[in-house]
Amino acid sequence: MSEQTFEPKIVAFLCNWCSYRAADLAGTARMKYEPNIRILRVMCSGRVDPTFVLKAFALGADGVMIAGCHPGECHYLEQNYKAMRRYEMLSHTLKVMGVEPERLRLQWASAAEGAQLSAAINDMVEKVRRLGPLSWAGNWSENGYHLEAIERLAEEHAEAMEVPA
């Protein structure tokens, strides 16, 4: 995939009450935004387990967005603060793992903020597009010359065994 045609895949976890409704509103208002975002609904941003974010990266996502109600406006009173804390913790760790900070975004969007959410999506898609693919699984594929080494080892052992005792 060349740099020009790279289209990132971004997973967005949207809370049922504010940000998912903001996405609904963006739809109803026919606001066009980048198709790279793929939305997954959870009841609250507090449901987003860091495992989901890591798993999304491991499964090939180029970016992950977590969206919830604005602080203080959570449908469940204060659970979005937990999302905020986990986001900070996760970012702290991902930095060390070499994942660019732009690839994980925490976005607040009230049910009335369709425009803000779609702008945030466009902004994130553009930033991740500029970063290029993450292709995380590629990180643990060895070059291939280790296969030769193993074969050679097997051959050497076989040769050694052919020598008459």
Binding site: G27, R30, R38, E78
Partner: protein, 676 residues
Amino acid sequence: MAERVGVYICHCGSNIAGTVDVESLAQWAKDTLDGVVLARDYKFMCSSLGQELIEEDIKEQGLTRVVVAACSPHLHEKTFRKACSNAGLNPYLCHMVSLREQVSWVTEDKVAAFEKAKALLAAGVRRVHLHEELEPTEVPVNPNTLVVGGGIAGIQASLELADAGYPVYLVEREPSIGGHMAQFDKTFPTLDCAACILTPKMSDVGGHPNIHLMSYAEVEEVTGYVGNFSARIRKKARYINEADCTGCGICIEKCPKRVVDDVFEVGLGYRKAVYRPFPQAVPKFPVIDREDCTYFERGTCRACEKFCPTEAIDFEQVDEYVDLEVGNVILATGYDLFDCTKIPQYGYGRLANVFTSLEFERMCNAAGPTEGKIVLRDGVTTPKSVALIHCVGSRDKRHNPYCSAVCCMSALKFGHLVMEKTGAEVTSFYIDMRPLHKNYEEFYDRLQQEGMHFVRGRVAEVSDAARRPGEEGKLIVQAEDTLIGRQRRIPVDMVILLGALQPRADAKETALRFGISCSMDGWFTERHPKLDPVATMTDGLFIAGTCQGPKDIPDSVAQGAAASARVQGMISVGTVLIEPIVASIEEARCSGCRICNNLCPFNAIDYLEDKAVSTINAALCKGCGTCVAACPAQAITGAHFNYDQITAELEGILFDAPRGNGRHARRLEPALEPAS
């Protein structure tokens, strides 16, 4: 058993089909996705014919899972769940994919739209495989109602419920009900006296057999869930036995200690250490203020005790706790007036003759500290000119961005009262006049006829620094008159600040105690700003009056009545269904680490000391899933949003992403042959 999944793709006329090639999508789903036994596209899935299609397929094709790719689940999830349940399939085995709001309406590029639709559909199908049958639980509704706050909204709500025959507990923080309305003199736009229309209602409350009034009391704790709340009320010690007190008032008369009354008289008048906020107080029993009472201060006095004819004074009284069981709660906790000293350039607290709107209400009130005479701070001089400043702390980004809704009309009312009682010149400084209810504009017109002056402009400062002749000894109000485009300096004798209506200082704590939410400003959040203005996101908890946002008396009354109607509906049905989307803890996996224990704002999580595990009360759980995500042992499961369901959806949503070699690194294949 392998699941049999039916996929239904809605055209929504051309709303979806105009952008997404629905036929190819259906074909792709059938060919590619696991377990899909049929995939149909249909013009309008939500039509009765569309729903029948699903029902027939469930019956005839033996579908065990249904995926409807159409509009947002917020629109039609209920519709399709119902169709499934009509055909005998558990409604929670149906899943909706939002192709309209998330794909066709927001995407221009048809190729990209098709790819996105595929991913969302793949996610839905993978997810629905793992869905579980869920059943809502039914709980009874206790017919008692707790009303918090005895202002006009709370009074109205209580009376309506009580008149309908249901028991009400009305809890009021102050010694008497009545709220802010009891402090007012006249009410706009009709100018009928507040007390004349309020006191009959107050005495109705006091004497109603279905209303249990607890004044000078606060709600300490609320637990439980819709239909079954428990509330703990702290009745503050009055030091007067209500059973013995006749309300004669001799104790008040004999009390030697006079203090400034900061609450009812907003600091403008005095009361005794034993007091009733006002003569018509309901209940009639006075309260001894421990802070000010000479006996509590120095250990001697007890004048009230000596003179009380019924020996009702009891200095040994302590706070009393009462536990109530109620089915619903109505919060009507009201507002606080903006602290006008926060805008020092308007002089409140610095310049004697600057007053707040509430101070003026008390001054105007015949039962107030000046017996209704409008005078300057010296207590004797009648002002010859008065300025009214609107929007003090409202429509101001540094304080409150919102409009306080009542100040324009209050200012008109004040203008009328000043002119009527003193004949003074009145000038109103406004940003915009907003007389926006029935007969309000007419009232504005009337005041213009009566000769009140209006200057459109935000006041820069109120100063006593005279500059021109005629300004000496006056308060000079400086503002730009934006209608004539000039700076004006208007010298007056008295300035009245129309302070903003603000959420109660402890509104956030109250919200937390009752398990509801506040907006950024601090007003309680309604379930829907237009269509559900008195309900909250917490079932069984309703809000009425100014605790929800600034409003005038008619609106507060309407909300009080509306909230009580909602509660009556709940009581008359008698039971409520509780969503099955809740979390649960697998006891064997729980180590009792207690990480989850304080994560639930609804107090649904309990720790069982004997078993050393945590447990979730399903009736209290609202299903947010925060504890599920937090459990370090992954011992908590969230129904309908469990780990496997979400990761399956994730795998589907990224079905086309480059996977590398997945969880396992590349293995050597074929297996190595050792030499034989």
